[in-house]
């Protein structure tokens, strides 16, 4: 089995505060890997290190290696912009571009990188919205503002926007935290579908969600990787006492 990401001795800081300590994980291709842990444990930082989003925050630093398809994305000669184009990211709060239509939101990744071909854009927008299970709801309103949609629809719009650039992986940072239960259920179905073609990494503070959608689970605590394995093993036979306490709700 192929590893999409191989994280080696990864450390991350905000100023002088170390938020990730010597993380080593190998993330499998075409599977869903969940990162769980209590608030402030570094889950979001870890996922943001995978597409070099951590470093855009002032005074943020990273050391160690993140091999993506076997190549270290933190090597001197790697362009972070090119790296990010291969990865789609979905954020905690739906963040469609407020001044763009639904169509332009989905086409943004291509348009802003210089694609002008109308026919290709139309195809990509339709295909991406269909993949994000949003097409039927918006196909007659493509020129309306992206901000006019409901929260759950906005989040699926953001997923469509990320899919439109044909990434190899989807990084999802608590994508359901601002959604109601019905929208969350739709999103989880979508994540399982995406896993057929994409490598999905999802950060969640909802353990049931991790158990439902993921194939592998990593448990972080205070910036350290406590346990990592198949979701079944982590939830049914946790090796570490901390993991067991966390998943049984004794802290967190």
């Amino acid at each position: 089995m192929f590893y999409k990401f191989e994280i080696e001795n990864l450390n991350a800081w905000f100023g002088s505060k170390q938020v990730l300590k010597n993380i080593n994980i190998k993330i499998r291709e075409k599977a869903v890997t969940a990162i769980i842990g209590p608030s402030g444990c570094g889950k979001t930082t870890l996922i943001r290190c995978l597409n070099r989003m951590h470093e855009i925050v002032p005074h943020a630093r990273v050391s160690g290696k993140v091999l993506f398809n076997g190549i270290d994305i933190y090597a001197e000669d790697v362009d972070p912009v090119q790296t990010r184009r291969k990865m789609g990211m979905v954020f905690q709060k739906p963040n469609p571009f407020p001044m763009m239509s639904i169509y332009d939101n989905v086409a943004a990744g291509l348009k802003l990188n210089g694609v002008r071909d109308k026919k290709r854009l139309n195809e990509v927008v339709e295909r991406s919205l269909k993949m994000a299970i949003l097409w039927d709801e918006v196909k007659d309103d493509l020129n309306k503002s992206g901000a006019s949609l409901s929260g759950g629809q906005q989040q699926r719009l953001c997923i469509a926007r990320a899919l439109a650039v044909e990434p190899e992986v989807m990084l999802m940072d608590e994508p359901a935290s601002a959604l109601d239960p019905i929208a969350t259920a739709k999103l989880e179905v979508l994540i399982r579908m995406l896993a057929k073609d994409y490598t999905v990494v999802i950060v969640t503070h909802n353990m049931q969600q991790a158990a439902r959608v993921s194939d592998f689970t990593a448990f972080l605590y205070l910036g350290e990787l406590i346990e990592y394995g198949s979701t079944k093993d982590v939830f049914e036979n946790p090796k570490n006492e901390l993991t067991e306490k966390y998943i049984t709700g004794q802290f967190g």
């Binding site: 912009v81 184009r85 990211m89 954020f91 001044m99 802003l112 953001c158 926007r161």
Partner: protein
């Protein structure tokens, strides 16, 4: 009386107070507007809009040369001031962690509080003494007044675009400059346009810096190194003159200046109207 009744009374009286304050604040605006319209409208006719200023004792005449002069001077000042202000504002908003940002912001604020006559004298010393009283000198002075206003409003408008929207673009693999131009700038364009508009309106009405850099001049445009007439100075010179037809021209000039500023305001607001409701 119970607390609820007291609260309702306080609520009502505060609301009335707010309305009263609004009316008091609007009185000067409307009295100036109506005064300018009433007194200025009667002096506006074809001659007024097509003829240059009259000399002493001459009947008729107009302010066409001053309209031309104001448009050229303000236009040239905007050509210098808007790009510089915009770029500074973008820098302050998008690179606010740079060490140089906070001194720039500080000096920009100091500059915006500068008395305009001081800016005028500075340009007198710098430009008038080498090339003489001229449009160039006046436009330079006006652009210095303009830059801090444009910079400040651009920075504020761009900071209103949420960081999550910037991150969305960066995560799509859009380069930072593209994100700034196509996502942040386009999200902030309404606020920026308003700032530019305020700055243009402000310099169109400036008279002190124009007086010391261009002097009062009554003729048509004759080159950028020459002076030209201006509406603001027309008002000043004509209004304090003893001749009745000149005083009428002053009111007319005032009306034209107000219409010009209102016109720019309405145009910009229409152009930047929200695409989506």
């Amino acid at each position: 009386m119970d607390h609820y009744t007291i609260r309702k009374i306080i609520d009502k009286s505060m609301r009335i107070l707010a309305y009263l304050a609004l009316i008091v604040a609007l009185v000067p605006l409307f009295s100036i507007l109506s005064g300018v319209i009433l007194k200025g409208a009667s002096s506006i006719n074809i001659d007024f809009l097509t003829q240059p200023s009259p000399t002493v004792g001459e009947a008729g005449g107009g302010v066409a040369n001053a309209i031309q002069g104001t448009l050229i001077t303000v236009g040239l000042a905007s050509l210098i001031g808007i790009p510089l202000g915009l770029i500074s504002g973008i820098f302050l908003s998008e690179y606010s962690e740079a060490k140089i940002s906070s001194p720039i912001r500080f000096f920009n604020d100091v500059l915006s509080g500068f008395p305009s006559i001081v800016v005028g004298i500075f340009c007198y010393a710098l430009i008038v003494r080498t090339i003489g009283f001229s449009i160039t000198a006046a436009a330079f002075a006006l652009s210095i007044i303009m830059i801090p206003i444009v910079t400040r409003t651009t920075e504020e408008a761009m900071k209103l675009v949420p960081a999550t929207v910037r991150e969305a673009a960066i995560a799509l693999g859009v380069p930072k400059w593209r994100t700034t131009v196509s996502v942040v700038l386009s999200g902030a364009k309404k606020g920026i346009a308003t700032g530019i508009l305020l700055a243009v309106a402000r310099i169109a009405g400036e008279s002190a810096p124009v007086l010391v850099t261009m002097g009062y001049w009554r003729w048509w445009f004759a080159g950028l190194n020459q002076p030209v007439a201006s509406l603001a100075l027309n008002i000043y010179i004509f209004a304090i003159s003893p001749f009745e037809n000149w005083q009428a021209l002053a009111w007319g000039s005032a009306l034209v200046l107000v219409i010009l500023i209102l016109g720019i305001n309405v145009t910009v607001r229409t152009l930047t109207r929200e695409k989506y409701k």
